[in-house]
């Protein structure tokens, strides 16, 4: 087996899905081997950078690579959008982190991804498919141009409900509308897996609750180490405090206190804004950057879709 010597996290492929969403494929043979659905990594793009958590959207054991799909929402993710090219390398890449998702061979599983959660849903859907489940997928985007990986999802889902906010592709509406449709069509759903903005996960968990369908969500609090050492990622689940990085990130969606999660995601809003403004200015100083119209930060309290 290859030695663990891995100091150069080289980017071997990149694909841009839209103005804001991009895919990075990074060489890390050991991680590709160890990765399981539901796990995430911590990335530092450069030595002065922040440690940011990103879900493993795919991994290829033969090629020895892992795939990240990133949405440019703030300083770090936008800077990576500019600086990460094929042939360049990340400063740090640690993981896989978190408890792998429990794929227990349920007969019919609903896999729901919206916003940041579309790509992270893929390995889970595939794992359920491989475990023999009938997989019903629901993925949401803002509009047709922002849709990505439709083929990949169709490849692992027995049925895929594609939603767009403006109706330019698939069902017109929010992810939660797609979920309601799936619930009506499939009274025999045994389990639901939901990844996306907290407000979306909350709405989906509320939709499955009356039917008593086991619903797993993947929470995304702010993290630092990802190893259980700082407590920054703490979430309330069933009244107990749990650390998402080592006790999760998957939890029972009917037990998670989403309001608490959303409030805690706003911890650093002024600082995030300052970092982004400072960075955008420095970009503009170098060259006229096309960032102005996107300077507005996403709001974790609104259901945002991919793109």
């Amino acid at each position: 087996m290859a030695r663990a010597a891995q100091t150069d996290y080289e980017i071997v492929a990149r694909e841009d899905f839209s103005d804001a969403t991009y895919l990075l494929e990074v060489r890390h043979p050991l991680m590709a081997r160890a990765a399981r659905p539901g796990q995430f990594v911590i990335v530092m793009a450069q030595p002065h950078g922040e440690r940011i958590p990103l879900t493993l959207a795919d991994f290829d054991r033969r090629k020895g690579t892992v795939t990240l799909v990133v949405q440019a929402v703030g300083k770090t993710t936008r800077e990576m959008q500019q600086s990460c090219h094929v042939g360049s390398a990340l400063h740090a890449l640690a993981g896989p982190m978190g408890v792998p998702s429990h794929v227990n061979g349920a007969a019919k599983v609903l896999c729901v991804g919206g916003g940041l959660g579309v790509a992270p849903m893929f390995p889970q859907a595939r794992a359920h498919k491989e475990a023999g489940a009938t997989v019903i997928g629901v993925v949401g985007f803002r509009s047709r141009e922002l849709v990505f990986w439709e083929d990949k999802f169709r490849g692992v889902c027995d049925e895929l409900i594609l939603c767009t906010n403006d109706g330019s592709a698939g069902l017109r509406g929010l992810v939660t509308d797609g979920v309601r449709l799936a619930l009506e069509k499939h009274p025999d759903l045994a389990e639901a897996v939901v990844i996306g903005p907290p407000v979306m996960m909350k709405a989906c968990a509320e939709a499955t609750r009356p039917r008593g369908i086991k619903t797993v969500v993947s929470v995304n609090p702010i993290m630092v180490d990802g190893t259980g050492m700082c407590g920054g990622c703490r979430v309330k689940v069933g009244g107990r405090v749990r650390f998402a990085c080592v006790d999760g990130p998957d939890f029972d969606g009917h037990q998670v206190d989403f309001d608490d999660l959303m409030a805690r995601l706003a911890r650093f809003v002024p600082e995030e804004r300052r970092a982004l403004e400072r960075w955008s200015e420095s970009c503009r100083a170098k060259e006229p950057a096309p960032l102005e119209e996107t300077l507005e930060l996403p709001d974790p309290f609104e259901e945002v879709h991919g793109g």
Partner: protein
Amino acid sequence: MASAAKKKTVRTIPQLRAAMPEQDAGQRSRNFAEVACGYRLEDALHEAERCLFCPDPACVAGCPVSIDIPGFIRRISAKDFRGAYDVITATNLLPAICGRVCPQESQCEGVCPVGETLEPVAIGRLERWVGDKAIAEGWSSAPHIEPNGFKVGIVGSGPAGMACAADMAKAGCEVTVYEAFQEPGGVLKYGIPDFRLPNAVIDAEIENLRRLGVNFECNTLVGRLFTLEQMRDEMGYDAVFVGTGAGYPSMMGIPGESLNGVLSANELLTRCNLMRAREFPQYDTPVPVGRRVAVIGSGNTAMDALRVCLRLGAEKVHCIYRRSRAESPARAEELHHAEEEGVEFHWLTNPVEILGDAEGGRAGNVKGMRCVRMALGEPDESGRRRPLPVAGSEFEFPADVVVFAIGTNANPIIGQTSKIRLDKRGYIETDAELATSMAGVFAGGDIVTGAATVIEAMGAGRKAARGIKRYLGLDPESASPERLFGIPVSEKNFARIRAL
């Protein structure tokens, strides 16, 4: 011997301890430069004169790793500084670190007989002076190393892992240290701030390990990237040492803990020290900067959090502790420095609730603390008098950041990902030689004892190294055990051992 002829007594030695040159309190509480600047040569020589060279030295017995203290002080007196370094590093590999952070007042200095009438010999400061001199001169304790073909893997790069790595490298093993963070050092790097332990000192000690041939692999979360079993069975490690520290910070479970502005000391310190949030936005990581900060707890971690908040620019910094000053577990020097720097201490006080801004909209922020006064009752199991709330003594004060520094629990990752036996609280179980339930795997430091001290973690790393040497048959004094769990060791058939 010449020195024995003129026997020193408490009356003949210099009466006053050499003072430690320090940054002025007003100035230093606003910067991150080191508080204690270190002895100059004349201070060290003066202080060395104060040692009585006791024939049966109490200090050595008081030292967790039994440094030959009179031995190294004697060499300082004789101006054989390299000799002093060699005496210390025969037992303590990290003098520049331990000299700065050991609780000397409850170890060597606490039992020094000079302390019965005068201030005890400043052993820690002398140790630090020797360690700093070694860094400045580029000395290292690297002996001639004969490679022996054994591979040893170390999990965690804190003091326990560093000490074990050094001993195994010196014994001739090929040593790799795996660290989850992007830089090695453990709590020394992410927890203890620069004004107490500059990063340059830690980096110098890590560099010494590299010179011994130790290989560091950062960004490696053992358990998740590969397991302990894989290290042993697939990656070719003949022995593994686990020194992953305690980590997992505790909260109290009082109302208001999820308000924005409430965080653990570990989070505050990691953001500030390792991620350099104090230089935000030059560095990307932010840290909540409070105007009025309340820190709960009174150990070293609490002192560090209090003093970091002052340096980040807080106007008022409160320390809340349910026992009295006498019971505070912090190093005496840190407590003293915190008082000098203007920390406001509330002894015999316990938090009841963290208050939020109710109408602040959706993201609740901290706006104050409600506390209750405590009185000391009967002694509890720890022998300390148990604090009990005083009825009707509740009071409130404004705060915008609240930091918990009330201790940590065992990190769960190694337990989640291996079959290693844990105790009831989740710490790794070991025998007296620090061997775990997994053949070939040893453990030590905070992950075995719970949160303790740097020197104890280092001592555990060295003790485990002795155990590993015996296990690998590298210890000339005691032959290696021939059978482990009923299987001949020469077989190295761990799969069989595990199957048992």
